[in-house]
Each structure stands twice: as structure tokens, then as C-alpha cells.
Amino acid sequence: MDPFLTIPFVIQRVKKETSDTVTLEISRPDDRVKTHSPAGSAFSFLPGQFNMLYVLGIGEIPVSISGDPNHPEKLFHTVRKVGAVSIALSLMEKGDRIGIRGPFGNPWPVNKAQGMDLLLMAGGIGLAPIRPVLYQVFPERDRYNRIGLLYGTRAPEDILYESEIKQWRSKFDLEVLVTVDRAAGDWKGNTGVVTTLISKVSFDPDRTLVMICGPEVMMRFSCLELQKKGVKPENIFVSMERNMKCSVGFCGHCQFGPWFVCKDGPIFSYDQVKDWIGKREI
């Protein structure tokens, strides 16, 4: 497989999630075999992996896969409008074509959480790479003990996958706590930083695996708070974010201490990164 080969995919649906975020549903063009990857083999991905999305004439960006790994024939990417490429992606319509390379990166250690409590923490659009974890664990829910999802975002109108969160709450044995940074007086949920939710959820610190995705500062403080509660650093996993370009560890743009985030990550245990995370210029 040539990791630099971009394969055309077709936009099937664009779902507006919030004022600045959309989810793209994409698949291979009809004249190709839908279930095949850019390399021609069966396309599959694991929770936490990402693809490089290319908008013709504008550029390429890494975007985590937010869909169901059990149904890889439909690819989902949730994109927030920030720069030229993500704005172009958000303006896509059904039938438009984009280029895909991937999947790249290592996955969340979902199987390692079997028999343990699983705590998922997400901030903002960081919920997108966490969603495939839930899709993977729900069909085999009984293999896990307690599962908690702690999600923080800016305001109630910025809550991602809101209707799905309601379904998860009611359908699965899942404790979901959502908090926002600011809210109007009619908001009945939590207001405050996501780290304050840690003490509101039940888990056994000795037997808990935590996966965190969000802004790096949020992840740092979450790790510190979890350690205070007794969770071992080797059981805390974070999804790191650096400037990824080639996605295979050639270009060096995403170097993070001794690692390349694209190739060695983006998922790292806190044990691996605790000496690097938060250091200036790293």
C-alpha cells in the first residue's frame, strides 16, 4: 500500500452538528467496491485512528474517524470550521468528491479495558475520536464494568452528537455527565470544567482505564486529577495533537519529544508522555 496515494471518495451526507461543526458521511464512488480501502484491501479502522482528507486545490488535513468501526463501509468524519480546508469540507454537498489517505495512527486500547471500569473524557470536538470507542464497546457491553463518559464543551449549543448522547444514556448502561463552560439561566445541566466531573462519577481507581481527548491543557489537568484519585498513569491514555502532514513519520512535522504523533500515536499512555506534555517548545 502506498500511504501517499490519495483515493477519491464521495460525500453522501453532510450533517450540521453545531454552528461550526459538521459530520461528513463519505463512501467510495459507486464504480468502485465500497468496502475496499485506498489500497484495495478491505477498509477497516480502529477507534482513535485518523484519515488525511484532501480537498482538491485547497489542501489536506488529518481528521479523526468518528464512525462505527463495525461498519467501516460508511466513513464518518466530524470537522470543525477553523481553517481553509475544514471550511471547504464544511461547505461540501452530497455528491462532491474529496481525497482520502488512511487510516493512520494507533488505536485506543479498547480491549485492555475489558474487565475494568472504562472512563472516557472528551472536551469539545474531542468527542469525535471517542465516539468509535462507544460503538465498539456497546455490542459487547457485558465485557466491561462501569462505563462513564465525561464531556465538557463551551456552551449548551456546542454539545456534539446531542441526540445520540441522549440515546446512549437511555439505551446502554452508561453514565454520561456533560458540563459546559457557560450557560444561560435556563440550562439545567452542569456548568464548570470537565475535571470537576471526575468526582461525580463512580469508578474503582485500581481497575479503571481512562481515555481522554480534548485540548492539551484539559488533558493535562484531567490526568493530574485522575492521579489524585488513584488512577495509575499507565492506565490513562490521551490522544495527542500535533501538526501532522505526511502521517507516516517521514516529514517530522509532528515530532513530540522522542515520538512522531502520526506514526507512534496519536494515542499515548500518560506514562509515556508525562515528562513531555506541558513542556514549552515540545
Binding site: V63, G83, I125, W187, T191
Partner: protein, 162 residues
């Protein structure tokens, strides 16, 4: 039936507090409940008590002209509402409103201040606990000042940010 003393002792705020001090403060305490939408206190009113929340949820709010009520923080089970009783001029700085049925232990601030003046060891124990709570809330407030989830603050392109 659970005694007030036992209920107070089970709250995380008083964890590690010697029994003799719990016996001292229980005389200033009372069980209270607030219905949804009921105000616990109003900005500017005399702050004559604080609350150990047992169940439920309370929103700290501020009212801003043209924007209406804005929730600053929510407090729930095992958390504390109110430190203004401890510091002059003993006035509430925000509104606090129950957003669901809330049960709490209310402490009479004047009664507790008097006991702290009489027994500085008790005062020190309470001051340590309030200082720890203030530090936690200050750190959380600083994190929120960063406005981490604002799209303008995102400069990297991973997770679809560029």
C-alpha cells in the same frame, strides 16, 4: 434514623474532622431542602449561612442586563455552597438557585463564626477546608478563562481543526 451528626460526618467536606469538632458544629446545623427553581440566596443579601449539599444541584447565577441570568457554576452532591459567611462584609456575591430538588445541611454562619473565635483549632480546621475548596475553584476558573473550546483558539489541524 440517621442523626444530623452522622449526616454531617458523612459529607466529604468534614472528612477527617475530629468528632469533638463535629459535636461543636452540629449545634449550628439544620436540615434544609430546596424545590427546583427555588432561590437559596440572592446577590447582596446577608450571607448568614453555608450549605453542605447532600443531593441535588444548585446553580450559581448572575443576572446581566440584556443577557439575563447566566449560570457561572453548578454545585452538586458532596459539594459546598457559600464562603461569604466566613469573610466580611458577609454578603452573597451571586444568586444561588436549586435546579432540581436539593437536600443540604445549612450552617448558621454567625453561630459558626462565634464558635471559631472561641475555639481557634476548630477555626483552623474549617479554614483549611475552605482554603482547599477555594484553591480548587480558583484553578477551575483559571482553566475556564482559557476558553479552551473556542474555535479561534484552535491553531492545529488535527481532529479537523484546519
Amino acid at each position: 434514623m440517621e442523626t444530623l451528626e452522622r449526616i454531617i460526618a458523612s459529607h466529604s467536606f468534614v472528612q477527617g474532622l475530629e468528632e469533638k469538632y463535629i459535636e461543636l458544629i452540629v449545634g449550628c446545623a439544620a436540615n434544609v431542602r430546596f424545590e427546583p427553581e427555588q432561590f437559596v440566596c440572592r446577590e447582596g443579601e446577608e450571607a448568614d449561612n453555608f450549605f453542605l449539599i447532600r443531593h441535588g444541584k444548585i446553580a450559581l447565577e448572575i443576572f446581566m442586563p440584556e443577557r439575563g441570568a447566566t449560570v457561572i457554576e453548578t454545585l452538586g452532591e458532596n459539594e459546598i455552597l457559600g464562603w461569604s459567611w466566613f469573610f466580611p462584609p458577609y454578603r452573597w456575591h451571586f444568586d444561588a438557585k436549586a435546579i432540581e430538588l436539593t437536600r443540604a445541611i445549612a450552617f448558621d454562619g454567625k453561630c459558626l463564626r462565634r464558635k471559631c473565635e472561641e475555639n481557634h483549632d476548630l477555626g483552623y480546621e474549617l479554614a483549611k477546608r475552605f482554603a482547599a475548596m477555594l484553591m480548587e475553584r480558583l484553578q477551575a476558573t483559571r482553566l475556564r478563562l482559557l476558553d479552551l473550546f473556542h474555535s479561534k483558539g484552535a491553531k492545529l489541524d488535527y481532529w479537523g481543526l484546519t
